[in-house]
Symmetry: none
DNA sequence: TTCCTGGTTTAACAAAAATTAACATGTTTT
DNA sequence: AAAACATGTTAATTTTTGTTAAACCAGGAA
């Protein structure tokens, strides 16, 4: 699963450093810029999932950055950080199209939770969290929406759970798919019984995929599964 | 365009009154409940676009309400209001799946802006807000107001329930339509018998839609249905 | 009023899907 | 190698959905 990319613009080297480390630790890919111009340039150059802007910045303040970005991007969430108390500023920020507004000092944990709250809502709009619906692998053709798997031996109607699991495997093709990731996405809860249920579905899919001996679901003991496309040649 | 519906749960009669008036004035349709149990009951009965919960409430506090609601609804945004300062509580709230957290005293304008910031992101997930009345899909033409479905084999007069359900499916075309969403909107109440009734209507619609084999209502077991159109051209 | 009538809900049973159980097999740890 | 644990596999059980028909219910006609 791809990482979320965050653009952090903060001129205080201390805070910048801390933000960077903390967010990386929490599994985000962060880019840190020191002033507003750098920030805007970085945003235009790369694809980010969320912006974290200090309001007071050298060269170009956070609001100006947001205005510039919002000209051609109304989507990417922006969170402002500020030392100022509230009111006028806060309101100004929201009007520009901010998604949240955090006053210093704040706890890292709160920041993280606010970031997560926002990303949760935008997740499926991000291309790397693909919404691909049709997959071709080996001699199979899989249509997620129609819940239909076509293989050498004909069509098979899949159930919802079979489809969801196969889709996740396809999205990670030749890459590991983590058990708990799959469980959280499909079953919404990583628990013992759901895990066993998933194992049952893996068995079902394996049976279906036998039609093409080059395709296989291999077990990554203790961590998950991997759908591989070149089962034969690997020996 | 339909109005956004907000569920406000606040026991302080004064603040409740003010919130209600202010938000109505700003174009929202609000339901005000005085305690947690009322609130949960209201949420289960009707479809809301956003919840505004005081944390400290009689009978059932805001967090418990959120937990209960999140069991089967991960979508509807929840904002907590609280007098307490921060930290432990805030974090607890976000973990439950809150979208924002506002400490009293707050300005009405800030509250409004935070509500707007969240609704902006969820707006397009609420297709039921569309007032579209005429739909073309596959070889069908469906007029909701006239309750008329035209297909390859001619016109069919629909009943009002058939029309409402087909409209919801059309609004979510190629996307999942949640059972409980449909039930709350059409039947105003997600209960066992209404659910069975809905299943009967799904069967009726399926029979009608057989005229075009490229159109299908897929079952999303345990969650809902999906009206799909065959995008065969993509191959 | 009573009798139709069309729409909707409820009932009853069938079928499908998902979960749980039970036991087999494999993997890691000690 | 034994113990502890994770996964494979099949079958039993439970839950959800499909389908048809009968019951119900309101509104209009006789």
């Amino acid at each position: 699963m791809a990482k979320y990319k965050l653009l952090v613009v903060e001129d205080d080297p201390n805070l910048g450093q801390i933000l960077n480390e903390y967010l990386s630790l929490k599994g985000y890919e962060t880019t840190l810029c020191r002033d507003g111009e750098e920030g805007v340039a970085a945003f235009k150059r790369d694809q980010y999932n969320l912006c974290l802007f200090d309001v007071m910045l050298p060269k170009k303040d956070g609001f100006s950055m947001a205005k510039e970005i919002r000209k051609d991007d109304k989507e990417t969430p922006i969170i402002f950080l500020t030392a100022k108390s509230m009111k006028a500023d806060t309101i100004e920020g929201f009007k520009i199209g901010a998604d949240d507004y955090i006053t210093k000092p704040f706890s890292m944990e709160e920041l993280l939770l606010r970031i997560q709250a926002i990303l949760r809502r935008t997740a499926d709009k991000n291309p790397q969290f693909s919404d691909q619906k049709v997959f071709d692998f080996g001699s199979f053709h899989f249509d997620f929406d129609k819940q239909l798997l076509e293989g050498p031996e004909g069509e098979t109607k899949l159930t919802s759970k079979e489809s969801e699991l196969l889709r996740l495997l396809c999205l990670h093709i030749n890459q590991p798919l983590d058990r708990s990731v799959a469980l959280k996405i499909i079953w919404r809860d990583d628990s013992y019984f759901n895990a066993r249920s998933m194992d049952v579905y893996i068995a079902k899919l394996r049976k279906l995929l036998k039609q093409d001996e080059n395709i296989q679901i291999i077990t990554l003991h203790g961590s998950g599964f991997k759908l591989i496309t070149d089962a034969k040649s690997s020996e």
